[in-house]
């Protein structure tokens, strides 16, 4: 696993397992942490699942879309902070600008990715694995390009412009911090928005139709290329916002995408890949499992990364196509 995620994860679990003896005492707090983690996974997992829905392909470069979103918002926020003092209501504006930039950068990178690494191969009718490899190539390229343009440090902390650890209120023993609340609320808002978008708009109908049966959808007058391109853009925007929030919480680096990317992919598979609600649920379950299980005194933080996969393997053995089953078209 990359260095960032270990840093990030051990932060969490150090918090979670300091009092390993009273696991139950820590439970509410851990559930909140798990919820935050899971919400981020869900946002990224949605990108995997949307692309899988329309193309039946794992978009391995999605983690770099996440990374680009984080870097884009980082640059903008740094720019704002050097030119003005941010306080009061401006904090919220800055956060909104950060999210928007993350979304735009993520969407742009995802769009370009589809154009370059996927569409050309689709035109050639390349074998399925060729897509996977071109995505891996793109992923290597993007992450190292970021490393070259910015730096190769394993972590850069985000500039602080508001007290992220400010405790807003308590539920039982759980302290709800400002940033945690922002992450959870934003993530859920976006998921609800996406759900509405896919189920109730023309574009959503198009996406579902392509996922169900692409040639038939084409016969019904849906522009497949455009639909696929837009699917990538939506997934990229979600990942970009997630990147901004992840960056604010844990810092940014050129390898930051890898570990959350892999886990989000696991989350997407867990929920039933290609299934939008499945990705949301999968992400939330994975986040909870990771935090709660590794907080168990006899397991420990070192196994944080294993937990996600053990849970995944166990669930797949019982339900081979994920919790909610497979296809975007059918189960959304």
């Amino acid at each position: 696993m990359s260095a960032v995620s270990i840093v990030a994860a051990s932060d969490l679990t150090a918090l979670a397992s300091t009092h390993g003896v009273d696991w139950f005492h820590q439970l509410p707090q851990n559930i909140v942490i798990g919820l935050q983690q899971g919400a981020l996974y869900s946002l990224v997992a949605l990108g995997y699942t949307l692309v899988y829905g329309v193309l039946q392909l794992i978009n391995f470069a999605h983690s770099e879309v996440f990374m680009s979103g984080a870097f884009g918002s980082y640059l903008i926020i740094n720019l704002i902070l050097t030119h003005m003092h941010v306080s009061g209501a401006m904090v919220w504006v800055t956060i909104a600008v950060g999210m928007l930039t993350g979304a735009i950068v993520g969407a742009t990178v995802a769009w370009a990715l589809e154009k370059i690494a996927y569409r050309t191969l689709r035109r050639r009718g390349a074998p399925k694995l060729a897509f996977l490899i071109s995505a891996i190539g793109a992923s290597l390229f993007l992450s190292n390009l970021a490393g070259k343009l910015f730096n190769h440090l394993s972590n850069n902390s985000f500039p602080t412009y508001f007290n992220t650890d400010k405790v807003l209120f308590r539920i039982g023993t759980a302290r709800i911090q400002l940033l945690v609340l922002i992450i959870i609320v934003t993530a859920f808002a976006m998921m609800i928005f996406l759900d509405r978008l896919v189920n109730h708009t023309k574009l959503g109908r198009g996406i579902r139709a392509v996922a169900e049966d692409a040639p038939t959808a084409a016969l019904m007058g849906i522009d497949i290329d455009k639909t696929i391109s837009r699917t990538f853009v939506i997934g990229g925007a979600l990942a970009g916002v997630a990147g901004f929030m992840f960056g604010t919480a844990f810092g940014v680096s050129y390898t930051m995408g890898f570990s959350p990317g892999v886990k989000a992919f696991a989350a997407a598979v867990l929920g039933g890949i290609g299934n939008i609600r499945g990705a949301m649920i999968g992400g939330l379950i994975l986040g909870q499992a990771e935090v709660l299980v590794s907080a168990l005194p006899f397991i420990g933080a070192a196994y944080n990364d294993v937990v996600a996969f053990v849970v995944l393997v166990l669930i797949l053995l019982v339900r081979p196509t994920g919790i909610l089953g497979e296809r975007l078209g059918r189960a959304a």
Binding site: I58, L75, I136, G137, L140, N144, G147, K148, V313
Partner: protein
């Protein structure tokens, strides 16, 4: 704006963007995160953005006018002309020209040599002309212009002008370089192993060939490919014999046989170097007369046999070439041993005797390859010389060679084997280490993964875990881990091979049995998870077994100590290469047999259509499990080799990225083809080593990523695609509308 203009604007913008990206890739390393574009500015503007934008415009023009240029490309002579120009460029811009200059400077490329020549008085005027006054480029320009004119006007003498320019270039390049070498020897600068000059000579000879092709073949009927094929297939084996003769002449007249002490002596002078030293009688005879006799005799025999296509003569030539290889090898061996012993008395270490002897070995192998091809081709001619029954009763090994179907296949096998045996000793220590520790090991891994991905069509993203299991099994049984095996079971590194294969086989079955019922992408994620779990277990030192990172195992170097054979491997990489080569050959032969077997066909069936395969009576689960287990055990073999070669490793080596990279090697090379998997792994592991000299270390993955991406965009079937898959792809290219091809044809992953 109409549609056409729009398209052109789009294309131009894309090309310009691409050139900016290229500028960033080549530009200097980053600034800081907070400088808002200064780093962008530096990265883009410092490496001459205008130059890169010009490249972008050129690419745009090339794409736009490609349909008009294309017919010209197919004309005879164009391809050799282009490859000649590229070769000249490569030899003068990329390759090293003169080793001794390493003493003076960090690199001894053509350009540095040019500076030195410019500042040195007392060199020949041709040398100065060639190096300093753009003589080489003038000749290339003449060749290009003359060939172009010949192609357009159809005037033959213009083609011959190209040939003349090429020949002059080759001779002058040779003379000029020789002049520099002689000059360097006067100054006792040391020895020369570099290849730049040789490649330059070859490049000019290719240009000369291009002229002949352009002049000789009528453009209406022949294109370069057809002409080349007709030349190559005129007499089977002749190209090998001719190339062998050319290299042989070089090897026996010019190339250094003994380099230390600034001797830089070629074959003729080597005999006097060893006067008075106790080299074996074979070696002294070889240096006196046997070497020449063998070379000339074999060359004449092989050329005659291939020209006359005479079967008996060809077999005789093959046998004599084999004798040549053996004699040459034992002579060099004796010379090396004597030299090593003499070294302390002379006050120098004899590290490398020079490449002459090994080139001679390769030359003899090439003769053998050519002769075998001629012999087999002569046999397979319609005249029934032998009864067909004789071949079917052949020994298993002969049967395997028979599977190389064509005579050319056999010749290639022999030639490649010769190169694999005799080329590595010529490499520098660094490259030998790279050849063993990265290229060779990954080729072995890619071969194993090819069974799983390429043949059975199962996407395995945790393949490195088996490698890890293999390495740790070896470490356990040699007693290098914190937990010791029982005394009676403590083994030597090589004796653990069966055990680690067994362990990986079991691991493969244990992982495969519950998960192989999953389909495609689910299998991918489960294997990925398995890889992660294994790595983390090793990292966290579960049960005190692996020692984690802090008590990582040290493994003694392997040793074979049987009655009659006593081989000890040490720090030196080269001996490991031969150990690895044996493993590779065994694995390749086994897999080759496997591919066409019942099991191999079953794999192909489930890869193409699992349901249909099941309906036809293939036990899909068992067959998949076998693929998994066979792939895993190959990985285990590689793990054992790696553990005993590297001697020290810890779990942080076996990352998920590595698993993904091996998948990339297999697909890059061409899924499902043995040659492809090997080529893919070799190219993609060779590249970082090569880039070590060219780009800063952190940028290497950037270039590899770009290469993989481009490769998949322009050649999704891989470097050397499997025949069946190639047919599939060319079948699919006939799709008439984008809609139908919008979603890739489903294929069992």
């Amino acid at each position: 704006m109409n549609e056409v203009t729009k398209q052109h604007v789009k294309r131009l913008v894309l090309c310009l963007l691409g050139s900016v990206l290229l500028a960033i890739m080549i530009g200097p390393q980053e600034g800081t995160l907070t400088d808002f574009g200064i780093s962008f500015h530096d990265a883009v503007l410092k490496p001459r953005i205008g130059f890169f934008l010009a490249i972008g415009v050129l690419i745009y023009l090339a794409i736009t006018f490609w349909p008009r240029v294309r017919p010209y490309i197919r004309r005879p002579g164009v391809v050799p002309l282009a490859s000649g120009v590229v070769l000249v460029f490569v030899s003068q811009a990329v390759m090293n020209w003169y080793d001794p200059l390493l003493v003076l400077r960090t690199s001894a490329k053509f350009s540095t040599l040019r500076d030195v020549v410019d500042k040195t008085s007392g060199l020949d005027s041709t040398t100065t002309w060639f190096f300093v006054q753009y003589g080489s480029w003038t000749l290339v320009a003449i060749a290009v212009l003359a060939t172009a004119a010949c192609l357009v006007t159809g005037i033959r003498p213009l083609g011959y002008l190209t040939t003349a320019a090429g020949l002059v270039g080759a001779v002058v390049a040779w003379m000029a370089h020789q002049d520099v070498v002689d000059f360097g020897e006067k100054g006792q600068l040391g020895f020369d192993h570099s290849l730049g000059a040789y490649v330059d000579v070859v490049a000019f000879l290719v240009l000369a060939g291009a002229g002949i092709v352009a002049a000789r073949s009528r453009r209406e009927i022949a294109d370069t490919g057809g002409f080349a094929t007709s030349v190559i297939e005129w007499r089977p084996g002749l190209p090998f014999a001719v190339v062998g003769s050319l290299f042989g002449v070089f090897a026996f007249t010019r190339i250094t046989w003994v380099s230390p002490l600034s001797l830089n002596d070629n074959f003729g002078d080597t005999g006097s170097d060893f006067k008075g030293y106790p080299i074996s009688s074979l070696a002294s005879n070889y240096l006196d007369w046997l070497g020449w006799l063998l070379f000339v005799g074999t060359a004449v025999l092989a050329l005659a046999a291939t020209l006359l296509a005479h079967r008996l003569l060809a077999w005789a030539a093959a046998v004599v070439s084999l004798a040549g290889v053996v004699c040459t090898f034992f002579s060099i061996k004796s010379m090396t041993e004597v030299a090593a012993k003499a070294a302390p008395q002379l006050g120098v270490t004899w590290q490398n005797l020079g490449i002459g002897g090994y080139v001679a070995c390769i030359v003899f192998t090439l003769f053998a390859a050519g002769s075998v091809q001629a012999a087999v081709a002569a046999k397979s001619q319609p005249v029934p010389t032998t009864e067909p029954a004789a071949t079917s009763k052949a020994l298993p090994f002969t049967k395997f060679v028979n599977q190389a179907r064509t005579a050319r296949g056999r010749a290639m096998v022999i030639a490649v084997l010769g190169l694999a045996l005799f080329y590595p000793p010529m490499l520098t220590t660094r490259w030998q280490a790279a050849l063993v520790a990265s290229i060779g090991v990954y080729v072995l891994l890619a071969l194993g993964l090819n069974v799983v991905i390429g043949w059975a069509g199962l996407l395995d993203l945790g393949y490195i875990a088996f490698f890890e299991v293999g390495a740790y099994t070896t470490a356990y049984f040699v007693g290098a881990l914190p937990k010791k095996p029982p005394d009676w079971l403590t083994l030597k590194p090589l004796e653990t091979i069966p055990l680690s294969i067994l362990a990986c086989l079991l691991a493969g079955v244990v992982l495969g049995a519950p998960t192989l019922r999953l389909r495609g992408d689910y299998l991918a994620i489960v294997t990925l998870g398995f890889g992660e779990i294994i790595q983390l277990l090793a990292l966290n030192d579960v049960g005190g077994l692996t020692g984690g990172t802090t008590r990582a195992p040290h493994i003694a170097h392997p040793r074979i100590d049987l009655p009659g054979i006593d081989i000890t491997w040490g720090q030196d990489s080269l001996p490991y290469w031969y150990l690895l080569l044996v493993m590779l050959v065994v694995v390749i032969v086994l897999f080759w047999r496997l591919e066409a077997s019942r099991l191999g066909r079953a794999w192909a069936a489930i890869r193409e259509d699992e349901v249909a395969a099941q309906a036809s009576g293939v036990n899909t689960f068992r067959v998949k499990l076998l693929a998994f287990a066979i792939g895993a055990s190959t990985s285990g073999l590689a793990g054992t080799f790696y553990a005993s070669q590297i001697g020290y490793f810890d779990p942080t080596l076996f990352t998920l990225q590595l698993s993904i990279l091996i998948v990339a090697y297999v697909v890059f090379g061409g899924m499902g083809s043995l040659m492809g998997a090997m080529a893919g792994a070799a190219v993609l592991t060779w590249l970082p080593e090569f880039l070590k000299d060219q780009v800063p270390q952190p940028d290497r993955p950037l270039w590899i990523g770009a290469l993989v991406l481009l490769m998949m965009i322009f050649r999704p079937e891989g470097l050397i695609p499997e025949r069946r898959r190639k047919a599939e792809l060319s079948g699919l290219s006939g799709i008439s509308s984008a809609e139908v091809g919008a979603v890739p044809a489903s294929e069992g992953l």
